[in-house]
Each structure stands twice: as C-alpha cells, then as structure tokens.
Symmetry: C3
Subunit: 346 residues, 3 copies
Amino acid sequence: MEFSAKQIAEYINGIIIGDENAKVHTFAKIEEGIPGALSFLSNPKYTHYIYDTKSSIVLVNNDFCPEHEINTTLIKVENAYESLAKLMTLYEQSVPKKKGTSPLASIAGNAKIGKDVYIGPFASIEEGAEIGDNVYIHPHATIGSNVKIGSNTILYPNVTIYHDCRIGSNCILHAGAVVGADGFGFAPSPEGYEKIPQIGIVIIEDNVEVGANTCIDRATMGATVIHKGVKLDNLIQVAHNVEIGSHTVMASQGGVAGSAKIGEWCMFGGQVGIAGHIKIGDHVTVGAQSGIPGNTKSGETLMGYPAIDPKQFARSAAIYKKLPEMYTELGRLQKEMEELKKRLNK
Amino acid sequence: MEFSAKQIAEYINGIIIGDENAKVHTFAKIEEGIPGALSFLSNPKYTHYIYDTKSSIVLVNNDFCPEHEINTTLIKVENAYESLAKLMTLYEQSVPKKKGTSPLASIAGNAKIGKDVYIGPFASIEEGAEIGDNVYIHPHATIGSNVKIGSNTILYPNVTIYHDCRIGSNCILHAGAVVGADGFGFAPSPEGYEKIPQIGIVIIEDNVEVGANTCIDRATMGATVIHKGVKLDNLIQVAHNVEIGSHTVMASQGGVAGSAKIGEWCMFGGQVGIAGHIKIGDHVTVGAQSGIPGNTKSGETLMGYPAIDPKQFARSAAIYKKLPEMYTELGRLQKEMEELKKRLNK
Amino acid sequence: MEFSAKQIAEYINGIIIGDENAKVHTFAKIEEGIPGALSFLSNPKYTHYIYDTKSSIVLVNNDFCPEHEINTTLIKVENAYESLAKLMTLYEQSVPKKKGTSPLASIAGNAKIGKDVYIGPFASIEEGAEIGDNVYIHPHATIGSNVKIGSNTILYPNVTIYHDCRIGSNCILHAGAVVGADGFGFAPSPEGYEKIPQIGIVIIEDNVEVGANTCIDRATMGATVIHKGVKLDNLIQVAHNVEIGSHTVMASQGGVAGSAKIGEWCMFGGQVGIAGHIKIGDHVTVGAQSGIPGNTKSGETLMGYPAIDPKQFARSAAIYKKLPEMYTELGRLQKEMEELKKRLNK
C-alpha cells in the first residue's frame, strides 16, 4: 500500500512542507532512510540526519526549524513520535488478518468460541474454555480447561494457559508465555518437601501485554492478579498470589516473589528483584538490577542492591572504588593519632 | 463436592468447636472468606480476620484462644497449615483425570507406553522412548528419542525433553521447561568458536519439580544430575555437568554455571548466581540476588554480591549509603592531622 | 560403532603409547572411565585420575610424562581438548539423521522448502516462508510467514520465529527460543500506555547458536541484528534494535536493553545486564552478574554493579565487609581529634 504526504497529513493533522504528492510505502529510521520510506525526527541528537536522509517524508515537531536546505518532504505535527505511533498502528491494522479455524487445531466439543476468531494449526483448546470475539490464536497455543479469554486478545505460538485462568480483552501474550503454572509452595518434612497444591488461578485484566517466555504463577488460594494496562516484558517471573496494579510496566527478567502487592503506574527496570509479602506503592520507579527487600512508599525512586535513593547510590558507587585506599588511609591515621597522643602524654 | 466439618475433622484428626454439620465445597484465604469455604489461620498477623471471616470452617492451631466471639466453625489441629495442605491434596486428587491417548498425538511405533497413561493432543513421543505407568502428558510436550520417564510423572504443555535423558517417578515438569538442550561449550579459534558437541545426558531423579521455562542442559560427557526431591522454580538455568543434591530448593531465575556441585537440603533465593566448577556443601542457605563465586561449606548462610554473612551484609549495606560522607570526613581528618603535626613540630 | 586406537590416532594425528588395537565405542570423563570409553586429560588437576582410570584410551597432551605405571592406552596429541572436540564432532555426525516431512506437519502451500530437509510432526511453516537445504526442523517449531532460513540450520522443539525474520546458515536454535516477538515499546498517555507497533525484524547471521528459551525481540523499525558466529546461552533477553557483533558470546540469563550496540569477540558472564542505547567496543570481557550502565571501550574487562575494573572490584568487595568497623573507627578518630585540638588550644 502507498500513501501520499497529503493523505498522511490529513490523518495526523499535520502541515506539509514540500511535495504533497510524495509517496511512501514503508517506515525507516531517519539514519537508515530509503526512497519510499517515512521517517520521524524527535530526538535533537538525530537532527543532523535530516539534511541527508533518503526517506521521502519525515515527520517533525512543530518547533523544528531547519538550518540548511532539506530535500525531503516534511510533515509538521505537535508530537512527531506520537504521530508515528499512530501511523504504524494504522499500518499494522492494514495487514490482512487470518480468520477461521485450522482443521489441524484441537478444540474440545464444549468449548465456546466467539465470532471472527482465528485458531491456528495445532492450537489446543480444552474442555469448557470460552474464547471471546476476534481472538487470534497462533499455532501451538494451549488453552486449558475452563479458561476464559476476552475479545480481541492475541495469543502467540506456544503460549500456555493453565486451567481455570482468566484473560481479559485486548491482551497480547507473546510466544512461550506461561500463565497459571503452580506457585512454588512446599512444606518441609524430614523425608523431603511436600507439595502444597496450588488451587487458585491467575486473573489478567484488559489491555495487558505479557512478554515472550514470561511466567505468571497461579495462586495457592484466590488469585494472582495482573490489573488492566500492565505491560510485562520478556522472561519475567510473577509468583503466586502477587498483585500488580494498573498501568505498571516491568522490563525484562524482573522477578516478583510470592504475595507481593505492587501499586499502579510503577516502572521497573530490567532484572529487578522484588521480595515476597511486601507492599509497593503507586508511581514507584526502580532502576535496573535493583533489589527491593521491603515495603516502598508511593512516589519513591530507587536503585541498588539493596535499593536506595538513586543519587545516593550513584555517589556511593563512585566512592566504592576507593574503599581500599580509604581503608589504608584510615589505618595510617589511627597510627598517627596514637603517636601524637604518646608525644603529648610524655 | 461438599464436606462437613465432621468429615474433615475425622480426616485430619481435629477437634470441632462449633457446628459439626457446617459444610464447605472450596478453599479461601481467611481475609477473602466466603460461605461454603474452608480457611486456615496459622500466621498470628492474620488473627484479627477470624472474627469477621465469612468462611464456614477455619482450621486453627491447638493453642489458638479466641479473644472475642467467633461466628465460624473452628477445627483445632496440631498444625493448621499442614492440615490444610493435606486437605488441598485430597481436593486435587478428587479432580477427575483424563486417560488414554489422543488420536492427535504422534507416537513412534517402537515407543513403550505404560499403563493408564494420558497423552494429550499434539504430544510427540519419538523413537525408543519409554513412558512409565500413570504418566500424564499434556498437549505439545515433546519427548525425544530414547528418553525414559518414570511412573506418575506429569509433563505440562510445551515441555521439551531432548534425546536420551532420564526423568524419574513422581516428577512434575511445568510448561516450557527444557531438559537436555546442549551445554554451552565452545573452543575458540581465529575464525570463531567451534562447537564442542554435548554428548552427555540429564538425569532427573524421583520427586523432582521443575518450574515453567526452566532449562537444564545436558552434560558434555556423563550427566547433569538433579537428585531426588529437588524443587526448581521457574526460569532457572542449570548448566552442563551440574549436580544438585537431594531436597535442595531454588527460587525462580537462579542460575548455576557449568560443573558446579551443590549439596543436599540447600535453599537458594530468587535470581541467585552460582559460579562454575565450585562445590557447595549441604544445608547452605543463600539470599536473593546473591552471587556465590567459590566453594561454600555445609551449613553456611550467605547474602550479597559477592555473598558474605547476611548480618555482615545488612550492616555493610546500611553503611554503604554513608560512603560519601565518610570519604569527605576522612579527607577532613587527614588535613587536620597534617595541621596538628605541623603545629607540634614548630 | 567401534574405533581402534590406531584409527583414532590417524584421524587426530597422534602418537600411541600402548595397545594400538585398544577399542572404544563411547566417551567418558577420566574420573568416570569405563572399559570401551575414550577419555582425555588436559587440566593438570585431574592428572592423578590417569593412573586408575578404567577408560580404554586416554588423549593426553604431548608434554604429559607419567610418574607411575599406566594401564590404559595413551594417544599423545598437541592439544588433547581440541582433539577430543574433533572426535566428538565425528561421533555426533555419525548418528543417523532423519529426512523428509512428517505427514503431521503443517506447511503453507506457497512455502519454499530446500533439499534434504527434515520437518518433524506438528511443525508449522506459514505462508511465504523459505527454508534452505539440509535444515532440520524438530517437532512443534513454528516458522512465521515470510521467514527465511539458511541451509544446515537446526530448529529444536517449540522454537518460534515470528513473521519476516531471517535466520542464517549453520545456526542452532534451542528449544523454546523466541525470535522476533515485539520489542517493549509504549507511549504513555493519561489513560494508559499505547503500544508502539514493532514493524522491524530480527536478522540472525550464519553460525549463530541461540540457547533454550532465549528471546530476541524484533526492531521497532529496521532490524535487531545478531552477527555471524555469536553464541547466546539459555534464557537471554535481547531487546529491540540491539546489535551484537560477530563472535561475541554471552552466558545464560544475560539481558541487553533496547538499541545497545555490542562489538565483536566480547565475552559476557551469566546474568549480566547491559543498559539501553549504549555502545560496547570489541573484545570487552564482563564478569557474571555485572551491570554495564554506559559506553565501554574496546578491550576493557569489567566486573560489578555498576561494573568497574575486576581487580578493583575484588579489593573493594573485600573491604566492603569491614565497612561497619571503618565507620565506628572513623567516629572514634573524629572524637579523639576534637579532644586533641581542645587540649592543644588550652
């Protein structure tokens, strides 16, 4: 498909500087521009690329003023990055989607399947499952018995949803994600650990994205709950009975131990660890690889292992390198002090 | 299914305080109690919930003495948590299990399948595999050639077991677990890394639980061994030629590098890293996110990166924040010392 | 299959000390030797095993001089470990490989399949995919639409390759690896995070090995690129628009955040974290669990969180334990200094 600068400007409410008939059929980063591509400029660090880019159209912010001649067609908008996202979404939606059920899928007789659902080859839908309208189930997804899935949700290949769990509408679960495996609960006995059955479920609300190979364990009793709008990156561990508040985002390889309660609109960097049975407030921001051992108030920003104020962490980390010389110097001062005292006591 | 307080008290050897005809059909946490649910009280932090819980029956420890009136029926037992586990296990066992082989499974002609096995749709069992009695194979599990699996073991969806590996009896492998992928072994050459073939296997003994998306690599030669009763949480990495002793438990996202030998009854927190070619004794306890760089004696408790005594770690971590002021103060003392010395030398 | 010492010595250009008719049919570690097995001795720590090993043949380095009598047959070579790798590769290649397409696979009508390809049961190959010669596709691998795969590449069970991604020749992707899932990109809005479509791809060049359950995300625009000869261990996260230079190796559970550029011939220990939008030079070596927050010059060696020179890290870590006593001592010196000054000012 091809779009003209004029069509695009209308859609995103922009002003054309250049050729309104310039045409694009793909996207490219401004530094990798090719004829027929649309690029954008938002970060001032990349401004110098605009004078040489081969892209046919570039989205820029309203306040952009070129310092040299520009060969490409510009479209000025309030927020170039947001407009780009809008156009990419349009582009993605224009890709034709598959419909219907593959004859190679396995669907239990009493499963309820909504309208306009796609079910790929080797998808497995077990007894009593309920699938909403427009759900897109890639090959090899496994949907356990009595699972409920809301409308417009996408399950990528090899997603596994264990029995009785509930997934909201407009969710995306990437390949290999596992929802509802047993929580890690055992009672020690002299002969070994006895398994505590995990008879709870996982509830994922609407508009949640779950990354590839991320695991969300079912509750011992009750539910592990991922509230609406949460975005989890790849390879994350969410243990049993955890609750994650709306619109919280967590980068890849983070881990949340059992029964931790996390508030809304938090942001967690990669490889963060959160202890079990603690409470984290709303709007908490945590730097990569940090460890959160205890309760955390709303609005806090933390970094380190264990996590402290990020500025404090940066300052202490800078001094950490000097610990050996500090240690030596401290010893030297002790000696000098003893000598001085001796001298004065003579 | 519904059970009365009387039936339950008999099964767990408890004493009823209240209505012996009170009936339950499900479980609930005491703070989320509903009529018809059984709850338990073990942690004194939760005691206040017992006076308002809607649950019909609550298990309590023998030494529990209510301070106010209680509306629910109590069953007193020696250990409320253990009795709960016993009841939940009974409940889980009462859920009807599937039997038989799905016509959509792929089973090599010479594979040996035990009695009362369930094999779900799209399970793939390759040449020479041997499956014990009562094994439960969920959809999409892949069992490589010549793999041996003991009786009563459960493989959840998308589990992959590479060729020649051996799994014991009464094991549980959760969705996406990978057993027997190649160890990470390469020999450098000027043109790049040459692969060292990994011709060993993985041996998992009886009563082992392996979490979702956990990876246990095959040995270069010989075997990577997970001894009986080991419990591994989700997203754990066990490298080639590692040996993990009986009844050791490891929380999610831990990593064990190649050829490390870990003793019995150890406990590892989440995201722990264990260096290669080291030896860890029995009954070693390691806090979350710690790094273990070297040999560790039996009975040690460790925390930190690199790991040290946990109390020492806690004290040092508390001082870490004060490093900048310590550094400044040390510099000030140095100057004062110089001045004093000058004054005395005059 | 069975080989004699004579045949082996010819293949690896070695000198036999002992019985040239000694025969082996398998490999074993020297400390676990059995009759009929070939072992090797490279690490001097293991030399004492050679006097008692039950293995029939042992490869040793040319400079090995026995101090006692040896019962096994030795083959002396320049590099025993490299010769072993050569023999193990020969052994692996001698294992018969499957050919042909399982009738239980799902292959889109317009997919192009090369010569001598194996496609296992329940493999799913979507529209427009192109598979090179001698590719080996295990059961349950999912190859998205328009994916291109070079010759001799192996995909293990449950590998998922999302649409449009490109995999080179002679690559190995282990079970559960996910190539091309959406990068983690969202634009905040007052109602929640809006998804930024990820319309780029992943390019994996030749001779790359990707570990089990490792995730490599597709680019927002353009490509996430894994250059030739890269070796990634299990459970690694490679975010969108990352570039990893040729022959770089990364141990398990490492994470690379978005748009980081990593040079050639780097080595990363396990659980390392690399920040987004940074540049790491060539031949950089990073210790396990380290965090790399910023640009790194070629040839650097780093360790710690945040990472510093490894010797500095070791020294500082040793002093870290003594922080509480340093703090106390510093306070004591301050007091003494005040007292001294008072005394002198009298």
